[in-house]
């Protein structure tokens, strides 16, 4: 896997796991269609996290594989197979590195349907909406 920067300086930034759980919440937007949010101008970072096979096994059914594959491809993190492989230890390790150790430090997330931009500054996505978007 290729990373734009490999320094583990900051944590608390958005993990790819959380991105996989996130959808647009603007009023009247169609979250199912816009999911996953497109990450624009990303700056990625890799941080170490402890590998916990039980946690990862519990996580597998919650992930949206198609969306993860799309995001990983768009971010240049390598091609994932079209179908989710068997939950072997090797695969869980790979998944762990991808969703828990990869973090988006800056950039923005854009909804493809309503074109709302959620900017990410200092690794913190700004999810605030205007009063008319609620």
């Amino acid at each position: 896997m290729r990373y734009f920067s490999l320094s583990a300086t900051r944590v608390n930034t958005e993990r790819l796991l959380t991105h996989n759980m996130l959808q647009c919440h603007v009023k009247n937007c169609r979250p199912n269609e816009s999911f996953p949010l497109t990450i624009k101008d990303p700056e990625l970072e890799r941080t170490e996290a402890e590998f916990n096979p039980d946690f990862m096994r519990g996580l597998v059914p919650k992930l949206d594989w198609t969306a993860l594959r799309k995001t990983a491809g768009a971010l240049g993190l390598g091609d994932l197979p079209a179908e989710m492989p068997e939950a072997t230890d090797e695969f869980l390790q790979m998944l762990h590195a991808l969703v828990l150790e990869t973090r988006v430090v800056s950039g923005s997330m854009v909804c493809d349907v309503c074109h709302h931009v959620f900017p990410i500054t200092n690794g913190i996505p700004n999810m605030l909406l205007q009063a008319d978007e609620v």
Partner: protein, 294 residues
Amino acid sequence: MATRPEHSAPPEIFYGETEAVKYTASTRVTSIQAEMTERALEIMNLPGPSFLLDIGCGSGLSGEILDENEHIWVGLDISSAMLDVALERESEGDLFLQDIGQGMAFRPGSFDGAVSISVIQWLCNADATTHEPRARLKRFFTTLYMALRRGARAVFQFYPEGPHQIDLITTAAHRAGFTGGVVVDYPNSSKARKYYLCLFAGSENVPLPAARTDPLADGMDVDGAPAAVGAGQVRHVERGRQRVLKGKGRAKGLTTAKTRRERILHKKALSRLRGKEGIPLDSKRTGKKRKDRF
């Protein structure tokens, strides 16, 4: 009575840069927050490391406890100053700048549980002309219910201003589909008393955890008279999802009220049931027309 922070300013203003640093540096706040987070985790009774949501994570004081218990967490807060402090403290969770009253943007079934320490009483206040506490609570609880896995628990420690706020919050939670109620720890000690709203997503008839009753036995330092030991006060509210008809569905024939007076009394009773304030008292003149001379 001490002033409540939510009366002085909206959260994003109140927890500005100075207050955020002060709050996090206070050993008293840190230890109380840690204790309440531990208790919330105990109530949640999680099987192992889980994916949790920390609602109103602030500077990550509660997140630190979640880290210690090896949970992976996502924190939401509306105060960017608090989040900046959280960044400096380098806890593990992801942080989001979010107004929880606007609802959350997570896919259904994402989280194994949610904790929230000293936050939801803020939602009972309207800080902008567009804010309607009831609507904001509704949106918050509905989106939270969706974001949680079926069978997950959400535990909120909060400081209600009075019984009306407990009602307001629990009603909103039950309307959103949650079951559960409020557990009051140390009900007999005014200092140690803590309210925990324990909500269960998608599971019926789960008994509420027992409240703690004796602060001294739990090694707490409580000044004043030692608290009497009594049965913990547990309010268990049944699943209160009422079908409230709106718009076209509310056909005229559905109420039995026939006269003008009956209709008005019915409307007033309904408003009281929904917890609205400022409903005039009923009297023998309710719904009576004035004579048209002036």
